[in-house]
């Protein structure tokens, strides 16, 4: 690669998200592959942990603000910041500026980060203008629109457009597609019975599509839905949309072991 083109490569900071870091690094590597294939130079700042939603949504503004400042500082100096999650991206984009609006030292920095942060698939489609991927994944799939991505970031068409270019992948629309899967971060453990009703309705809709593969852009929702599918003895496999777009067919599906 010439010196010149290296200078033109957008420098992208990957916000891994705590769930991907802890549970499913393959999503992070799929994101890196997609970004690199699209001509980005990817770095992963070590000073990141979590976006702070558990604190923010539990009413703990002080810890949420401290985590926000730490995240902002870690991601200054990138052209773009990308997260393989609509929920975490929306936290940084929509809620950091609100969280730090009364902090004169940080308000501007929060807004500058907000302007540069993106959810992975919408970044590929809307910013990098990627309209197809070189991947094959023969399966009948259905796609769950996670709430934050759908409503806060208006992500709906982008994943469908890119998935349409995956060889062999057939996409069936999920009935009641705008309904929450029942994850909601700490919600699912604070009110387990309600969350269970929600995820039960969701997996019934998933089963009704006769899909063999469930895709979504947020690992939290995927762990919730795949956990319920597995508990029900369902054969439906769950994967992060980035893994399919990156053509990763080797990694076992969510909640499946090396021995199936």
């Amino acid at each position: 690669m010439s010196q010149d083109s290296a200078a033109q490569e957008p420098k992208v900071g990957l916000f891994v998200t705590c769930l991907v870091d802890l549970f499913r690094p393959s999503v992070g590597f799929a994101a890196v592959k997609l970004l690199e294939d699209a001509g980005c130079r990817v770095e992963v700042p070590r000073a990141q942990t979590c976006c702070g939603q558990p604190a923010y949504n539990s009413g703990d503004r002080r810890d949420a603000a401290a985590i926000a400042r730490q995240t902002i500082a870690a991601f200054e100096g990138f052209d773009h910041v990308v997260a393989p999650s609509g929920s975490c991206a929306a936290m940084i984009k929509e809620h950091y500026p609100a969280l730090l609006k009364d902090d004169p030292d940080w308000q501007g920095r929060a807004e500058r980060l907000s302007a540069r942060v993106h959810e992975l698939v919408s970044f590929l489609a809307d910013v990098l203008k990627v309209d197809s991927v070189a991947a094959a994944f023969p399966a009948r799939a259905t796609y769950h629109d996670s709430c934050s991505g759908l409503r806060e970031l208006k992500i709906r068409a982008q994943p469908r457009r890119l998935l349409a270019s995956v060889e062999g992948l057939e996409l069936a629309e999920l009935p009641e597609g705008e309904a929450c899967c029942g994850f909601g971060g700490t919600f699912c453990v604070k009110y387990p019975e309600i969350s269970n009703e929600m995820v039960s309705a969701k997996v019934a809709n998933i089963e009704s599509t006769e899909a063999e593969l469930l895709l979504a852009g947020d690992l939290g929702c995927l762990m919730n839905m795949s956990g319920k599918l597995k508990r029900n003895g369902s054969k439906v496999q769950a994967r992060h949309v980035a893994e399919v777009l990156a053509g990763d067919r080797d990694t076992p599906a969510i909640g499946e072991g090396r021995e199936g």
Binding site: D21, A55, N57, D60, A179, C188, E197, V199, G255
Partner: protein, 481 residues
């Protein structure tokens, strides 16, 4: 109304185990969501109207004292009476006083959430006056001695079979062998019974969807026509309304009416929208001889000027609960007080205290669908989060959650320690769960594993693998090797 909001988790657990309720609640999704979406899609100006409706209410709330004075002046000129009441008790007593002065034995009632809020029926009954609900849904739940479970569909928690059984129990003067198989037969039976009650009643009590400052009109919106019979036939009409119902002009109310029915039932307009401005006038052949407006504060003035002010824009259309996955799962009664669903989760702590109703704003996945459909663009999740902040500040957050959060935040604020511990923990869990790839049970994860498996970590964390990749120069390490 006595609150059971403090027992929300128990209420919710009971609700999800109730098969009748589950069957009835299916009608909420089927009956409201698509109809609203179609009605909104059919009107190109719908989103602009939502903005305009929000702005009208914001302007009105910022001048609420003055609009109420203007409204009152017009009512008084037109021969009506305005009664200002600070609390539920004052409003109940004022209504009782008016009923007594009219020598009332029975009163008919149109649907009013404010009447529920002040527990009017119990108060009238305790004082020897019989209240008769005339909205079909309200009539049904009055027979059952239940509160409404929805703000526009009070009996939505019931199936047709339950309603048939109630009618057979209570209408025992009718032939036992009559056919009540079809909903139409149930509607006809209620119609027949209530017609006589309209004429017998001495006082008619209605709520108000809006009060109009320009001309002193109170507005009711119904599909059944029960509110109109209630306010036209008896010799006294009492309107019970809360302060924030006022809007400036007929033009303003026209904007809001355009989003109301579409958001509520998916109709373009409800069957009956009625503007009434006072008692009967010279030469009128019908209409009430007396017209009273009981204007209730009951905590609203304290919401004004706070982060909860936006909730005062609510027009009680029910769209938030119609689209709420939590409401779909548990119905309205579990919320424990008058207002269920997302708007209830914001209003209830404001009106009866966060100590009593603190669960409500917590029992949300923040999916945001309520805000997406709210015609008045009320930022419901944001306000629920404000309540969580108030609870956290006041140490009302449950201790295990607070403690867990504290440990988590300690690490999340220290990236080096965080990555060290995360690496150790996921490696251990990954090794434990590698074969099956998931856990059916795990210590401290009972909230999760009671209902679903927990996917096991793949092994090392992304950060560990990324460090290896950087160290080795290139090449992607096998993620779960």
């Amino acid at each position: 109304m006595q609150s059971t909001s403090h027992a929300f988790p128990d209420n919710a657990r009971a609700a999800v185990k109730n098969p009748q309720l589950k069957k009835a609640l299916n009608h909420v999704k089927a009956g409201f969501i698509d109809k609203r979406a179609k009605a909104a899609a059919k009107l190109p100006e719908f989103e602009d109207l939502r903005d305009a409706a929000r702005d009208i209410k914001n302007h009105t709330l910022a001048h609420l004292d003055l609009y109420l004075e203007a409204y009152e002046a017009r009512i008084t000129e037109q021969g009506g009476h305005v009664h200002w009441c600070g609390t539920a008790a004052e409003a109940r007593d004022k209504i009782l006083e008016i009923c007594r002065a009219a020598g009332a034995k029975t009163v008919t009632k149109g649907k009013s959430m404010i009447a529920e809020e002040i527990a009017l029926n119990d108060h009238l009954e305790a004082n020897g006056i019989e209240p008769i609900e005339t909205d079909l849904g309200e009539y049904i739940i009055q027979l059952r001695k239940e509160p409404p479970s929805h703000i526009i569909a009070p009996a939505v928690h019931l199936t047709k079979d339950q309603i048939e059984a109630d009618f057979r129990d209570h209408h025992d003067h009718l032939p036992a062998e009559r056919n009540l198989e079809e909903p139409a037969a149930l509607v006809a039976e209620a119609r027949g019974i209530l017609r006589e009650r309209y004429v017998q009643a001495d006082v008619g009590i209605t709520g108000a969807n809006f009060l109009i400052a320009e001309n002193g009109a109170s507005v009711i919106v119904t599909n059944e026509g029960n509110g109109d019979l209630t306010q036209t036939l008896p010799k006294v009409h009492i309107v019970v309304a809360s302060l924030e119902k006022v809007v400036p002009t007929l033009e303003d109310v026209s904007v809001i009416l355009r989003v109301l029915a579409r958001s509520a039932t998916g109709q373009e307009f409800s069957s009956y929208t009625t503007f009434s401005t006072g008692p009967r006038r010279a030469g009128d052949l019908d209409g009430p001889e007396e017209y009273h407006v009981v204007l209730l504060d009951n905590g609203r003035s304290g919401m004004l000027g706070t982060e909860y002010q936006d909730a005062l824009r609510c027009i009680r259309c029910g769209a938030c609960m119609n689209h709420c996955p939590v409401y779909h799962a548990i119905g309205g009664h579990a919320y424990g007080w008058v207002y269920p669903g997302p708007i209830g989760a914001v209003l209830t702590p404001s009106l009866i205290g966060v100590e009593e109703a603190g669960h409500l704003p917590n029992a949300s996945s923040f999916c945001g669908r309520c805000e997406a459909v709210c015609p008045m663009r009320i930022p419901l999740p944001k306000m629920m989060r404000h309540w969580r902040e108030r609870e956290f500040e006041r140490h009302l957050t449950p201790l295990p959650l607070r403690a867990g959060l504290g440990v988590w935040a300690f690490f999340a604020r220290r990236p080096a320690l965080y990555h060290l511990f995360a690496g150790l923990k996921t490696r251990a869990l990954g090794a434990l769960g590698r074969r099956r790839g998931r856990f059916r049970k795990l210590p401290l994860a009972g909230g999760w594993t009671a209902h679903r498996d927990l996917p096991a970590p793949q092994g090392p964390t992304f950060q560990q693998l990324w460090a290896e990749r950087k160290r080795d120069g290139q090449g992607r390490p096998a993620a779960s090797a």
